[in-house]
């Protein structure tokens, strides 16, 4: 039986997870504004994807960013050669990373001191489909210049430069360098806690077994004997 719906009702990621977890084999056809994409599933894995002239993982990653469109999944035998090797969870993870980058990119307007760099996977690759202005902008991205400096040096105006940067990030060509400045999610979480005890927010070394047991003993005692005068 075919499965059909729209991305307004079922998000692309949820749909792909359902098909993957169900170990489905068949063809997922997606249409939006006259464009048609096809994702081929075999045993829950996406083995091939095509959207016009584009093929492979990029088609899946683009699909995951969509917020509109309709789909039909038709169970059928799929004999095509496998061109996508990564699992659906791995593809979801990459899409989430891109979305994370894009979210951060949207904050760049408020943080021109942030830096961007060309992803290793994209460096040295022929960048098909890029316009001349995008190539020029890409040439300014050396990992050292700040976003503010790149935008100032671009020939297309601030709004155009930011839009192009966002597009390059969305396509996975460019990544925001934020980890060193802003810290990992853990460090950011620690930094956001207030008041933070003096000293580094997180330890460099892992606690030892006696320290872990000490924490557990403290918790057991605390929950058995609520603190005096506490809340």
């Amino acid at each position: 039986m075919a499965l059909r719906g729209t991305f307004e009702e079922t998000e692309p990621a949820d749909l792909l997870q359902i098909l993957a977890l169900g170990g489905k084999t068949g063809v997922l056809a997606v249409t939006h504004q006259g464009r048609a994409s096809r994702l081929l599933f075999r045993g829950g894995d996406i083995i091939h994807a095509v959207d016009g002239a584009r093929q492979g993982e990029e088609v899946v990653l683009s699909l995951l960013a969509r917020r509109a469109g309709s789909f039909v999944f038709t169970p059928e035998t799929v004999r095509e050669e496998r061109t996508i090797q990564r699992s659906v969870p791995a593809l979801l993870l990459t899409a989430a990373q891109r979305m994370d980058d894009l979210t951060r990119a949207n904050g760049l307007l408020r943080k021109p001191s942030a830096r961007v760099h060309v992803r290793e996977a994209a460096a040295g690759e022929p960048l098909e489909g890029l316009g001349e202005a995008e190539r020029q902008l890409l040439g300014l991205i050396d990992g050292q210049r700040s976003v503010g400096e790149i935008v100032a040096a671009a020939q297309v105006g601030a709004a155009g430069a930011y839009a192009m940067l966002a597009g390059l990030i969305e396509r996975g060509i460019v990544s925001v360098v934020g980890a060193e400045e802003e810290g990992s999610p853990l460090a950011r979480a620690s930094a956001a806690a207030a008041p933070v005890p003096p000293g580094p927010p997180v330890s460099a070394r892992r606690p030892t077994a006696p320290e872990l047991r000490e924490v557990a003993a403290y918790l057991r005692q605390a929950v058995a004997c609520p603190a005096e005068g506490g809340g």
């Binding site: 997870q17 872990l212 924490v215 918790l219 929950v223």
Partner: protein
């Protein structure tokens, strides 16, 4: 300062809110120790909440509470790699089970952890769906009971303590 860092991933949004409130209330009730250090809590980026408790001067416990939505899988995986251990708290709704299975596949190799349930009587269901060995203990947590939530944290700490730290 040494900080034991734990990650609790709660797949059901309502269960997450309850665990968060219960844990925070427990933390806030603890007396400040050391040099003015005390409980601290903050919200970061929506999917992750953070709570820090000073056990004694020089020894803290940090607990991160995250939900299991697919967009947060990235956050959960990054956090799982940074913390000392994780606990995956899963409800018995289909979306919880799907999220739990997906997360388990992502984080199981990063750090030691344990699976717990938030729905009474769901032990067998969780073992079956998550393909856990038949005798794997699956504690069920009462999200509104401080002792219950604290005990699963203690269980995780004890498990971590029993695992040798790689040289």
């Amino acid at each position: 300062m040494i900080c034991a860092k734990l990650l609790l991933i709660v797949t059901d949004p309502e269960a997450r809110r309850r665990v968060l409130a219960t844990w925070r209330e427990f933390v806030i009730r603890q007396p400040a120790e050391g040099r003015g250090a005390g409980p601290a809590a903050g919200e970061v980026d929506g999917p992750v909440a953070f709570s820090r408790l000073t056990v004694r001067e020089g020894l803290d416990l940090a607990v991160f509470i995250a939900d299991g939505g697919w967009r947060r899988e990235y956050v959960c995986q990054v956090l799982a790699e940074e913390v000392d251990g994780w606990c995956l708290l899963i409800g018995d709704a289909p979306e919880d089970l799907a999220a739990g299975l997906g997360l388990l596949r992502l984080i199981v190799d990063t750090r030691p952890g344990l699976v717990a349930g938030t729905a009474p009587g769901s032990e067998d269901l969780l073992r079956e769906v998550l393909q856990l060995p038949r005798l794997t203990p699956v504690p069920i947590v009462d999200c509104e009971d401080a002792e219950s939530v604290t005990m699963v944290v203690c269980e995780l700490l004890e498990r971590l303590a029993a695992i040798p730290i790689p040289a």
